[in-house]
Symmetry: C2
Subunit: 244 residues, 2 copies
């Protein structure tokens, strides 16, 4: 049977999702918990990697298991007893035999949180990026519209991964002001390495007046990473949900 897991984690203390030698990752702690629970070495496949320090409310993963002695919906409760407090299973359920958390994923939504304050705000800073000055939100919204749609996102990708194509579709970029917070929600059919952090970093450069519509259009047209804003820190980024 295939078991689908919806996973939430505070990524602060993890080297991302995917198992890496000599580093603690979220995938690894879930696989270890499954080993403790079942006595079996079970490989867990995530919808995609999240980088070191990135959080998740609704990462999705699956694993395959022959035995049916544990009902699929009971894995959440049983694994949560074993898992550390910063990684928890929100839901476990049986999926179709051809379900793959990675290959079947249709849309993902990431949220990037920022707050405007001259001082670091300790109660926000663990999960959000401090902006010392109020950015121009309407300029950011205007440039966000340029990024929406199907494009070659080569300029919005850090080097270091080999992918067949850098064409992706961004369905929406919403920018919401809530008190002193500015929250970016980005939904797409898939994301390249650091893509959300570069999109939001580029929009923040627009918000500070460092670059404008022309540079964003040129990034999409030429694929030149150097035209954009910085790759902003992982701590503000949360994988909100994966749709199938």
């Amino acid at each position: 049977m295939i078991v689908k897991l919806t996973v939430t984690y505070d990524g602060t203390n993890y080297c991302g999702w995917q198992v890496q030698p000599n580093k603690i990752t979220v995938q690894e702690v879930i696989e270890k918990a499954l080993l403790t629970l079942t006595g079996e070495k079970i490989k867990v496949i995530g919808s995609g990697r999240t980088d070191a320090g990135v959080h998740a409310e609704g990462q999705v993963a699956h694993f395959k298991r022959e035995k049916e002695n544990i009902p699929p919906e009971k894995f959440a409760l049983a694994l949560n007893i074993i898992l550390p407090d910063d990684v928890k299973i929100v839901k476990s359920e049986r999926a179709d035999d051809d379900f793959s958390a990675r290959r079947s994923a249709k849309r993902k939504t990431y949220v990037y949180r920022t707050y405007v304050s001259t001082a670091i705000l300790p109660l926000k800073d663990r999960y959000a990026l401090q902006l010392e000055k109020q950015p121009d939100v309407s300029a950011m919204k205007e440039c966000a519209k340029l990024i929406e749609g199907e494009h070659d996102f080569k300029a919005f990708c850090s080097s270091g991964t080999s992918v067949k194509t850098t064409v992706r579709t961004v369905y929406s970029i919403d920018i919401e002001e809530r008190g002193n917070e500015i929250i970016f929600s980005v939904t797409g059919n898939g994301f390249l390495y650091n893509m959300v952090r570069i999109i939001v970093g580029t929009l923040l450069a627009v918000g500070r007046g460092k670059i404008g519509k022309k540079e964003v259009e040129d990034m999409l047209a030429t694929g030149k990473r150097a035209l954009g804003g910085k790759t902003i820190p992982a701590k503000g980024l949360t994988l909100l949900s994966v749709e199938y």
Copy 2:
């Protein structure tokens, strides 16, 4: 001159506000930062204590200083360079000569955050209490109305402090549902030791059907602490603001 400070902190790693021997407190780290900045031993007076693990968005404090070589509004920026990341000054300003953060305080608002989930949610759990089952919010709202007003709050107070009177006025208790969160906001003219945590703990006992209106009325009438709910954990509690 009197300098008024508005202070925010993540209380997780502190033994509360007030200086105690052999324990790290928020007051102490601010006094140490003032010593580093000015070379002077300066006593900082808070609006009141917050307990170990309690957070603040808008704690207020003041100190007195003879020298005027640092303009009052510059203390925030200067102290924030010295202070650790979990304690920051949101604002510093000159106050009237008779201003006292403690004696002049008129109203305080505390927020207690909870979330409903069978699993611990790592991204909420640092600043909120997990409720495994949905409580009866309308029963809690009804009992909250009984607690509002001027009462002897002896039954809503942990032993261990000597106060002249246990009579206080609670101006309002608001209970707001926001997604899977239930947020309690309590405003009063002053609070006894653990009072907010006992009020919310008692309302949660009402929400679970363990006690009802009668027990809450009896608490107010008889002063018997044992009739109420548990003193719930500090981590969900934040001092939102102090008004003068």
